[in-house]
Symmetry: C2
Subunit: 606 residues, 2 copies
């Protein structure tokens, strides 16, 4: 079985050389303790944990899956021990506020941790990942008492958390939520209803599970404006940090899924469960959206992680497996055939994976800096600052989640393709990566929803194109600075063209949408993918610029490392970026070609 | 569980109106009995069998899978009974020669049957599909005695067949085959070796299994020129059409796969198994290539089938499931939300599936006419005629197999996407389609191998671009004929541009490849995909032309049917065909961006 290796050299290149995290952390209050040596020690320690503990559980966890017996969910063998190590190591509180037991490091440190954990073993990483969602929600919207009661044991990793949104009749359209919460004399509520697709809904990793649940008060307005948010603990807190009475919430069944089988996806039945309101009445969806942005960036990791993992294993295979001779002549004359890696078409596949993994990682780290500022705004109670960075992040989030998870699927499937028929066989693990990754474009808002959020909400409705203008200005300023360098000029020229085009496309869609609202939905997917390719082009150009600088002036890495960065940037611009032009063409295609057929005329087979 | 419906109206439209199969069959000797009423009766009967017998076994077959116990492979519950019905119905011999017990109908009729069976239940269709491979090989290369002994029971469906090519160390690169065949005094051979990935290698559906095996004679030349072909029956024939002694061939294990779990994929151990040479010594690979073309067209069906099945189920769901309001205003005001189908982005997904299913089906039926002529050439012993059509088919085959299976995967994944999170859950069946389809780009030659076969072999080496010139001439002639019709003109103009571009691209690659052989491998994938999009554009234009004619002059179908064809053709040209331009750009990208990195510098993670 192949084993995950933490890509620490690439991570450090991006953090230190491309995005100046040392400078960034020095500017943050939470960054006080995130000095370069501490960051390096944490990354290295986390990498070791992922390589040695989580990676070996990846395949066995898929084979065994989770079990529900007598109402109790059991995770695969080894998960409990691994989680204990994780919790004991204080990893859950890495970026959590110190006043609630966390280490108070910047949010981005948590993302780096999540990236490595999610790449080594996505299913495992779901458990602490969902807890983080609950922690963020309680931190931002809970009362001080709720923070003391729930946030502290969650931060310790002693308790786990979930986010209970989806119901059988609605996922995206949360206005249809039916779960009811009846107020009780003591100020608590009795919550009744069924939630589905609840990740980590039940498991044996923690002594308690804190469910964050969307539900309706009896007199609530219809639709999205009548949803409130509740805390429903599996065991009621005993008031001393321990657990008391069992609450009326149970796992009714486990979903049988295509992948992430070691992650328990539960149908949760709430039967007059004791619940506590969090935030204001009927403000539940607003509270939930805070969670959304961070959850979606968390999910974007699932675009990068599988690309990295699948690339690591495919590259090893391509160096070992021999088939045919390279077209340009024998490369391994002492062997019966050349290694796969000598075939240009195989390299096309491998470099696509590499460009996605390293380009996507760069996009994540770029966004993580913004997230750090937003979190700091919240921590300082500076809502203006928090909102400013939340807006910036809100533009990047759907691009990252939507685009990167689509490309993550492509990369995972390429990994299978490099293995040929062996890619389809379970023992090699390549098909598991593809199955596990497939969820990423579906949950936390499908790609279609990300696309609509980006184009319809963030770009058109909220900023009338301003979000694109702001981001393209950043890109264009970078590009102009590098026009004079002969080696960077091709990247810079292309970026300048793309920034102009991106704005032009936005305006054209905006004008078309005034006459025909369907245009927004018709163009959204292509707009999202286009935005993704251009954003990744910016990130690759930044990597290329640093590589050239280091080649000229020396850096921590070898010459080969920087040359490989430059070569991968070239590959991206010449072989992947041209896809943006297809999206540019099709996003302007009239909505008529989608809407003209009557629903009943979509098929004549019955 | 959703159920397959045979798309008979679409099939008849393509057969009767677009590709004039009645006229085509009237021109064939084997078409004597394929009169329109017989064809219709067969399609309808086959459709019923697929809908009522095979489709209900689709999901249970995946859940149960195949079992190997005490050396015996058992197929899932119901498969044996379904196969009995299939064999009793004479379906296996539909297109087989009458002198060996078949019905002597044209080869294309077999393809129509395979399409419906493969769409309803791909795993099931693998068993008779592999038998067909064995039948074709024995028919074309076997002695009369071998035909009487093996072909007759295979045609009856009483015996099954396999094709044993792959070994642990080699799949594509068959020159590395190690399996040994030792000549015996009686003219037979003792065959020893291990074959992997053997579909239908063992099962309980037939009383005997006829393995067609690639192996080496003791004094054979190295590489591909030293491979011979053998028949190795599971039970030796008793000379009276029955079975005798058990032969030394056994299923060592079943592969655990991502999908097609009801299809037994076996490791086959040959231990001094009695074998009979088929064809001439050391000519095994040539003999096998006859099988290849038909097997690859058979596999191309797996691009179309999943698109059809996934579309049928996704369309149903999109009409029922309600989420949000359409951007252009309420469509189902009496309901809490609008059906998914009213969202433009969902229609984009559904129409992509539809365009792939119906466009791909058209491509298959176009090629099947060519196959009919080739088979007739063989039957008549007219090798010149057979070769002529074999060449034509040889150009289409990699496009069909390579391009359609890539798009089949896209369509299957779109089906999951339409279902949102529910697409990931097994009970809906959408993820099974995606898992089952995933094999299609891997076996019978990966997409990379199809691409190299198309560009390197069929286009450049064998015809110096002639194959493209010949096919584009057909397309251009069609386009010119329709330039004057206002409604067809946009299709015709686009096709003329594309035919010119296709030739130009071919020449440019040919010239570049003279200086740099890697160019062929570097460009192959994009060339294949480009060829696919242009070919499908031709097929969609032909469907549009007929639809317009029928709208003007009346036809068997409703006006809505023809309008839907036209709308789907428009959709294809405006939203999918632009992808060809990205492939055109990237195929000319220098091979340097793939080859410049040292294999050791592809990663710095270790």
């Amino acid at each position: 079985m192949p084993v995950y290796k933490a890509p620490l050299r690439d991570m450090k290149f991006l953090l230190n050389d491309v995005f100046d995290y040392p400078g960034h952390y020095a500017s943050l209050k939470s960054g006080e303790n995130a000095t370069p040596d501490i960051v390096e020690a944490i990354l290295s320690e986390c990498g070791k944990f992922c390589e040695e503990v989580l990676s070996p559980l990846y395949q066995p966890g898929d084979e065994e899956g989770c079990k529900l017996e007598d109402g109790v969910v059991t995770t695969p063998k080894g998960f409990k021990e691994a989680y204990e190590q994780y919790a004991m190591g204080g990893w859950q509180g890495l970026s959590a506020p110190e006043e609630y037991g966390g280490q108070g490091l910047p949010a981005s440190m948590g993302l780096l941790k999540q990236e490595m954990m999610g790449t080594a073993n996505w299913s495992f990483s779901m458990y602490p990942g969902l807890s983080l969602g609950a922690m963020n929600t309680i931190y931002l919207h809970g009362s001080e008492d709720q923070k003391q009661t729930y946030l502290v044991p969650l931060t310790e990793g002693r308790w786990g958390g979930t986010m209970c949104l989806t119901e059988p009749q609605c996922g995206t359209d949360l206005g249809q939520v039916k779960t009811k919460a009846e107020p009780q004399a003591d100020g608590s509520y009795k919550l009744t209803g069924t939630k589905i697709f609840i990740s980590s809904g039940d498991h044996d990793l923690t002594e308690n599970i804190v469910h964050i649940v969307l539900a309706r008060l009896p007199d609530a307005p219809k639709g999205t404006k009548g949803i409130s948010l509740f805390i429903v603990p599996k065991f009621l807190p005993d008031g001393n940090g321990g657990i008391g009475e069992r609450n009326g919430v149970n796992c009714g069944s486990l979903e049988k899924k295509m992948g992430i089988k070691a992650s328990a996806t539960c149908v949760m039945n709430f039967d007059e469960a004791t619940a506590f309101l969090i935030g204001a009445e009927n403000e539940g969806l607003n509270c939930m959206f805070t969670f959304m942005n961070s959850a979606r960036i968390g999910t974007a990791i699932q675009g990068v992680g599988p690309a990295e993992l699948s690339y690591q294993w495919a590259l090893d295979y391509a160096k070992e497996r021999r088939s045919m001779r390279a077209l340009s002549g024998k490369k391994d004359p002492e062997h019966v055939a050349d290694a796969l890696i000598h075939h240009a078409d195989v390299r096309r596949m491998l470099l696509t994976q590499k460009a996605i993994a390293e380009g996507g990682r760069g996009m994540l780290y770029y966004a993580a800096r913004v997230a750090d500022h937003m979190v700091e705004g919240h921590a300082e109670g500076d809502e203006q600052k928090a909102d400013k960075y939340d807006d910036k992040l809100g533009f990047l989030t759907p691009i990252l989640k939507g685009f990167l998870t689509e490309l993550g699927n492509e990369a995972a499937n390429i990994g299978m393709q490099v293995f040929g028929g062996h890619g389809y066989i379970r023992e090699h693990g390549m098909e598991q990566i593809a199955r596990d990754t497939r969820i990423a474009t579906l949950y936390e808002g499908t790609t279609g929803i990300q696309a609509l959020d980006l184009l319809g909400r963030k770009v058109l409705l909220m900023t009338q194109g301003g979000a694109v203008r702001e981001f393209t200005l950043i890109i264009a300023n970078f590009a102009r600075k590098h026009l004079t360098d002969k080696r960077l000029r091709p990247f810079a020229v292309e970026l300048l063209k793309l920034t102009a085009q991106w704005n032009l496309l936005t305006v054209r869609i905006m004008l078309a949408a005034r006459k025909d609202r369907d245009v927004v939905s018709a163009a959204a997917h292509d707009f999202l993918m286009y935005s993704g390719y251009v954003s990744m082009a910016y990130i690759w150009a930044r990597q290329a610029a640093v590589a050239i600088d280091k080649l000229d002036n020396g850096g921590d890495e070898s010459e080969e490392f920087y040359k490989a960065k430059l070569a991968t940037a070239e590959f991206y611009y010449e072989r992947l970026l041209p896809r943006a032009q297809t999206h540019a063409t099709t996003m302007l295609s009239p909505s008529k070609n989608l809407m003209q057929l009557d629903a009943e005329d979509m098929s004549f087979t019955a």
